[in-house]
């Protein structure tokens, strides 16, 4: 197994073009397990973990740009204000040891239907910035995944950054697993209100071959909020609206039966999570205007 350690991002991009079979390694929390357990034997590793330029984040024009080296610990310690759903999700990932190494970009590239970063990134309308010698392209997260463990990356491409709109309203994330820590999601759900544009975003994890949005549910909720004048005045939501939203979220799922849970359970849990996250997010709006807790 060869090992390449580029010293600059430009070198990394050039090396990936020269060696399309080289497998990038970032936090290693997915790849090392594959090497040890799935017997994956990459001919060559391309180590991105030393590139300082990937480790930072910056906010401009209301968007937070997360370098591909940003970890769950970074997000939960520093970005809870601008990226509340992603921060809540980050907190549920693995253990401190895993969160210190695992990156958001690595989660995207692995493209597991259960990846915990995916629902918040979908709900907030994030974009994946991909680069190769041929240039840079921005892929909306909703179009990044093409199947279980599959994504749109070409062999010469690397993820450079993830662009996430900073929160302009309450956000929530909820995950069901068999215990509190160190657990792969049986099903997960993220919700994000963008108050100025009167938009609601959703993301569902582990309930379809790829992470998905619940488009019918958001359209329904936006319409109900418009009709009742709730955007102007954050009154208690009628139970019918909350249930209507939850039903549509559950209907969007196309789950499978597997060792982590039967499909029927996943749909049921999703309905409950949709109801709860909506109530939590809405009550944050009632109490303090636009910010999530």
């Amino acid at each position: 197994m060869d090992y390449l350690r580029p010293r600059t991002w430009q070198d990394a991009v050039a090396l990936k073009t020269e060696n399309p079979a080289a497998v990038p390694i970032n936090g290693g929390t997915d790849l090392m397990v594959e090497i040890k357990f799935a017997g994956r034997r990459p001919a060559c590793l391309l180590d991105l973990s030393h590139l300082q330029v990937l480790k930072g984040w910056r906010k401009s024009n209301g968007t937070v740009e997360l370098g591909a080296g940003v970890t769950y610990t970074d997000v939960l310690e520093h970005l809870g204000g601008d990226l509340p759903a992603l921060a809540i999700a980050s907190r549920t990932v693995g253990s401190p040891q895993i969160r210190n190494r695992g990156t958001i970009a690595g989660n995207l590239a692995t493209a597991s239907p259960a990846g915990d970063a995916h629902p918040p990134l979908l709900a907030t309308g994030a974009t994946v910035r991909v680069e190769s010698m041929r240039g840079v392209r921005d892929v909306p997260v909703g179009r990044f995944f093409t199947g279980p463990k599959q994504n749109v990356l070409e062999p010469d491409e690397l993820i450079r950054a993830v662009l996430v709109p900073a929160a302009r309203g309450p956000q929530q994330f909820s995950k069901v697993g068999t215990r509190n820590a160190m657990v792969i999601a049986v099903v997960s759900f993220a919700l994000a209100f963008d108050i100025p544009s009167r938009h609601v975003g959703t993301g569902i994890g582990s309930a379809a071959p790829t992470p998905i949005e619940a488009a019918d549910a958001t359209a329904y909720l936006e319409q109900e909020l418009d009709r009742g004048g709730y955007w102007e005045e954050h009154r208690d939501l009628p139970a019918g609206t909350v249930d209507g939203f939850a039903e549509r979220v559950a209907a969007a799922a196309r789950p499978i039966n597997d060792v982590r849970g039967p499909a029927g359970y996943r749909v049921h849990a999703l309905r409950v999570m949709a109801r709860r996250t909506l109530r939590w997010a809405w009550s944050a709006l009632e109490t303090d205007g636009t910010h999530a807790h």
Binding site: M1, D2, Y3, R5, I25, G27, G28, T29, M32, V33, I35, K36, F37, R41, P42, L45, D47, S49, H50, T73, G94, S95, P96, Q97, I98, N100, R101, N180, A181, M182
Partner: protein, 156 residues
Amino acid sequence: MLIELIVNGRRRTAENVRAGESLLYVLREHLGLRGSKDACEQGECGSCSVYLNGDLVCACLVSAGQADGAEVVTVEGLSDGESLHPIQQAYVSEGAVQCGFCTPGLIVATHCLLDASSDPSDEEIREALAGNLCRCTGYEKIVSAVRLAATETAAG
């Protein structure tokens, strides 16, 4: 490949390391530091916990190449020669060590926790040690040991 790294304050080199090997393998098999335990090799048990450039990580998930040039502190680096670190002493005093396989990883994770928070609540302790599995103790005595270590550290 040749790996150079600083382990417990000393410059060390390891030769003929395969790139896909882990930092854990380098520590145990090349450098003879067998304190960090090799149990699951997939990040699930925490018995290989070490500091890598100041961060608590599972050494089994760090590739050897990634550790080149890094600063590593293992459980061996916490005690002062033959005398136990107060955290190690607390584990012994509270009976938190049974077979002992999980202990080195827990000691490093506890060290990291107490470094960040000198008087953690039980909930914080459980959260901070969630990545360290123990088959023997049932965790109660481990939580007591962490509480004792916190008091001792505060007193000392």
